[in-house]
């Protein structure tokens, strides 16, 4: 791409990425509501989903403000189509079984907690403030998903096999978190956010430690599916999510409470 981005254009894209991650994963996790294996997990997953939707309101709210076209968080969440979404491919992947959902959550939470930790020092106070609020929730999400990954990975033969299968399936979606582009370069230049690649060592150490506790083997491959955070190549799953999530606005445009 030869087009140069202004700082605000890049910040807008960066905020969409953060907000779309929590929006899409929040929606995915909410699909468990009423279907979890036990009541306690059902409530915990619903709480996690709600936390993420709450974070979405902040990120997309700020995105709308930065864009300066009068859009609210709701406008951005419900009136964009697939190609405008900027979430990681990982978060749009299907829930699968409970173990697969918790593995996806753990792989995301680990990155999310490290990212928010860096954003606490953002030169943009609005970004730092949202990161501070979200990081407390995410610290808990990570504790919970990591415990569950260890419990199931180091559990029965069946649960171990399912968790290893989930890890093998989802690992190719991890690499995208650490791939930078011109948006990230602009954020680094403005001291707003870190270079994504700079999170990798901390991520590998954290994830490696938990997966070792879980007696799981990290796949020996750096292959990474890409195209979610740039919006150039979402998987087919995102379209299906949006038909559900945006159904009301599509059927009744402009409907309000």
């Amino acid at each position: 791409m030869t087009k140069t981005l202004s700082k605000d254009e890049a910040l807008f894209q960066f905020l969409l990425r953060l907000g779309d991650n929590t929006l899409v994963l929040g929606h995915r996790v909410s699909e468990w509501c009423g279907h979890s294996p036990v009541l306690e997990e059902d409530i915990a997953l619903a709480n996690t989903a709600l936390d993420m939707i709450g974070q979405t309101q902040f990120w997309l709210g700020l995105a709308g403000e930065v864009e300066g076209k009068g859009k609210t968080a709701d406008n951005l969440a419900f009136l964009r189509d697939v190609w405008d979404f900027r979430n990681l491919l990982l978060v749009e992947q299907p829930n699968g079984d409970f173990g697969q959902t918790m593995m996806r959550q753990f792989l995301f939470d680990a990155w999310h907690s490290i990212m928010l930790g860096r954003l606490l020092k953002s030169s943009d106070q609005r970004v730092a403030d949202i990161a501070e609020k979200a990081s407390k929730e995410v610290a808990y999400h990570l504790e919970r998903s990591a415990d569950t990954v260890v419990g199931l990975g180091d559990g029965t033969e069946e649960s171990h096999a399912k968790m290893q299968a989930a890890l093998d399936l989802l690992w190719p979606y991890v690499g995208e978190m650490f791939v930078g582009d011109e948006v990230d370069a602009e954020m680094v230049k403005a001291d707003i956010a870190p270079d994504p690649a700079s999170l990798r060592d901390e991520y590998d150490a954290l994830v490696g430690r938990i997966l070792a506790d879980a007696t799981l083997t990290v796949p020996d491959s750096k292959f990474a599916h890409k195209g979610g955070k740039t919006g150039t190549r979402h998987s087919e799953h995102l379209g299906h999510i949006l038909t559900q999530m945006q159904w009301l606005q599509r059927a009744y445009p402009g409907a309000t409470w």
């Binding site: 036990v38 306690e40 709480n47």
Partner: protein, 94 residues
């Protein structure tokens, strides 16, 4: 059921200075997860500052059938209750 997680009783301290109160029970594979589940099930709306959990099987309980010998003798001894004192408002929760 053999594969069922054990039952845990949950106690929450609503605010500093108050004692923990029994709020309900839940299932969890171990104590740590029981505290996490309690956090999600019972403190979502800022209800507490501290959580205790104890496996229900470890609670020794009195038998309802013994209520005669256990409690009735005190019914007629009102002088055991400090209800004749006015407690100043400033004392706060007791």
């Amino acid at each position: 059921m053999k594969n069922e997680w054990p039952l845990w009783e949950v106690f929450i301290r609503g605010q500093h200075g108050m004692s923990h109160r029994h709020v309900g029970s839940l299932h969890a594979p171990d104590a740590e997860m029981a505290i996490k589940n309690a956090r999600d099930v019972y403190t979502r709306r800022n209800e507490g500052v501290s959580i205790w959990v104890v496996e229900a099987a470890h609670i020794a309980a009195s038998s309802p059938g013994d209520k005669g010998p256990l409690y009735e003798p005190s019914n007629s001894k009102v002088y055991r209750h400090p209800t004749f004192f006015d407690i100043p408002e400033d004392v706060g929760a007791m």
